[in-house]
Amino acid sequence: MAEPTIHNLEIVDGRDPSVQGFIDSTLAALIHELSRSPAEANISITLKRRASPIACIINPTTGALEASPRIDTYRKYSWPGKTAHEAWKFTVILRILAILDQAIRTGQLISKRDIYYIDPEFFRMQCIVDRIVDDLAYTIGVNRTALNVEAAAKGLVTGDFRLIRGSHILIDAQSVTEDSLIPRIEDGDEIDISRVRWVLVIEKEAVFHRLARISYHTRALAGEGIMVTGKGYPDFMTRTFLRAMSDSATNQSRPPPRFYALADGDPHGMAIMSTYKYGSAAHLHQNARLSVPRLQWLGLRVSDIIAVPEVLGDTALLSLTMRDRKKIMAMLRNSPVWASDGPEPEWRAELQRMLVLNLKAEIEILYGCQGGLEGWINRRMFRQE
């Protein structure tokens, strides 16, 4: 689907005065310094650095991966700086500030990709834009939407939910038969999922489509459900949407629907599941409002495959690559999610079993098992009830 470059949506409220204040004072300070003699001028922009992923904890209150309490560190970017690289970095920050300033003044939403494509040669790489936008948001102490930066929609959803904004129903998914892009959730929005029994978060898009095609969300033994995929590592919109559904499950009076994760039995699948449940190490300051502590692990475990002899062909199980092994070791070593005194001893054990057996398993293996993937999910949801 083609994505419009700039969304002409008026921001009615939610404009954060601290953002405009930061931009104004930063630009004003720069102009002031520029007016001084070159020998005295201190032309620089200082950004607060986000916590390193290694120094993080699971917050017991929010159940999210967060920065451990520490003193903030700052990084100063000067013009012309000591190196050509520093000078370029300074101009990148200044340029992005100017773009954000315009977006906020005109009330336009802009995506990180839009910013990059304004001048790809100058910005060099998408990730450079991403990092500076995130650093700016962190420095100002707001989330990215306050900068009018919106992520391009990536995730998909299918199933029966209603999105209520103000007093009217914005989306009634009951009347939507196909899967659709995950809607953007705004402050104050409400999601009604009272008609479903489960929410299944699926790592891979192909698996999602396979289940959506047979309308698994209406045909599951466990009753009606909602299926969501963030197509790999989830973006903010997908996580925001999922969290909104989770909050709505908390508030509803009847027994809440169960939230399950279906990911590959490999280090990436486990890391993606962890991103949904606890948050991402790269955006620690966002995790408290995006984590989904109620998420349960449906699969896939390597032992699930070993225990199902009829699907064990030569290709069913894959050996870990050296990269997989290194990734697992890094996960065990660095993330509190997998720590020995952490919240998920089963996850830790699974990573270690992978190392010992030198094996991983992909969801697609289940297509060939008795009753297919849907039969397996039926049995597994029943077992976890």
């Binding site: 032992s303 065990l332 070593r333 020995s340 830790r348 054990a349 270690q352 079993r353 010992v356 030198n358």
Partner: protein, 309 residues
């Protein structure tokens, strides 16, 4: 003729995650797991009490532990890639910092220690076999190339003359420690090998894994002597009884089997759990009765003794 082994208690939830490896001395059983500590249980008391916990031994867990014949030295291999040495005096274990430092950078996944505790053999994730002399500052004295496939298991023959390794592609290799050469090549298994073990008199090599059969080789010729079939899941560990009369095997579906070498038949099967039994080991004989210990994904160590009379 079948034999009976009775449950003689267990150390329940000895670890908080899967127990991957057991090692035995005269009076103790040491276990390592996905948790960071090594647990030491006494096997001389009827209720197998915990006598020592070596905390923080391997931060992200430990997959192999081996002990020399007289129980004075243990070597562990952790998930972090570190090899560590431990020494025992009067039943109390302490870190052997000197030897651990000597072994810094030693690359091995599976490990085996010689009966006298002088040599450590290891096989790497790339399938290389290394031997270190622990009495000479951990100097590497041998470096054997195999065809480069993940080395899942290794054993040193009790007479010290042979090293055997098992690999993910089903290969089994035997090296002479004296010459560093392969005296003969073995017809391996079809599927990954997960355990190799020499008999007490070094005459027989047993190998097993995902093929679900145990293959017995004549260690002097490499000829296959027998195939022991009966497990219906992957075989994860092998252990010979003191006399070499019985072979113990454990599998992924929680089954433990005892095989008679005289009849080449299974004489006992135990299934107390449906979870993987990562390690099963014979215990020292008490009088004339033999017993064994098992541990794995159910996080407990279970003890069995032969039923007498």
């Amino acid at each position: 003729m079948s034999k009976q082994y009775l449950s003689r208690g267990s150390a329940d939830n000895a670890h908080i995650v899967d127990i991957f490896s057991l090692a035995i001395t005269d009076k103790q059983i040491l276990s390592t797991s996905g948790a960071s500590s090594i647990k030491v249980h006494s096997t001389t008391d009827a209720d197998f009490p915990l006598v020592q916990s070596i905390d923080g031994a391997h931060t992200i867990g430990c997959h192999h532990i081996v002990i020399n014949g007289n129980g004075s030295r243990a070597i562990t291999a952790g998930f972090d890639g570190e090899i560590k040495a431990w020494s025992c005096q009067d039943g109390h274990w302490t870190a052997d910092r000197k030897l651990t430092a000597d072994l810094t950078g030693a690359d091995a996944w599976a490990i085996a220690i010689s009966e006298d505790g002088q040599y450590l053999a290891g096989v790497t994730q790339e399938g290389r076999i290394n031997v270190w002399d622990l009495s000479a500052d951990g100097t590497r004295i041998r470096d054997h190339e195999t065809k480069g496939n993940f080395g899942t298991c290794i054993d040193l023959s009790p007479d010290g003359r042979l090293i055997a390794s098992g690999h993910e592609d089903g290969a089994v290799y035997i090296f002479s420690t004296e010459t560093g050469r392969m005296p003969f090549s073995l017809l391996g298994l079809v599927n990954p090998v997960r355990a190799v073990a020499f008999s007490p008199r070094s005459k027989i090599l047993a190998a097993a894994g995902d093929s679900k059969v145990i293959v017995l080789y004549d260690a002097s010729s490499g000829e296959q002597i027998a195939n022991l079939a009966g497990h219906s899941a992957w075989i994860l560990s092998l252990s010979w009884s003191d006399t070499g009369e019985y072979l113990l095997s454990s599998s992924f579906d929680g089954k433990v089997k005892v095989w008679s070498m005289e009849t080449k038949a299974c004489v006992a099967t135990h299934s107390e759990t449906d979870k993987a039994v990562w390690s099963a080991k014979w215990l020292p004989k008490v009088g004339k009765t033999e017993g064994f210990a098992t541990a794995g994904a159910n996080r407990s160590i279970a003890f069995y003794r032969e039923a007498t009379g």
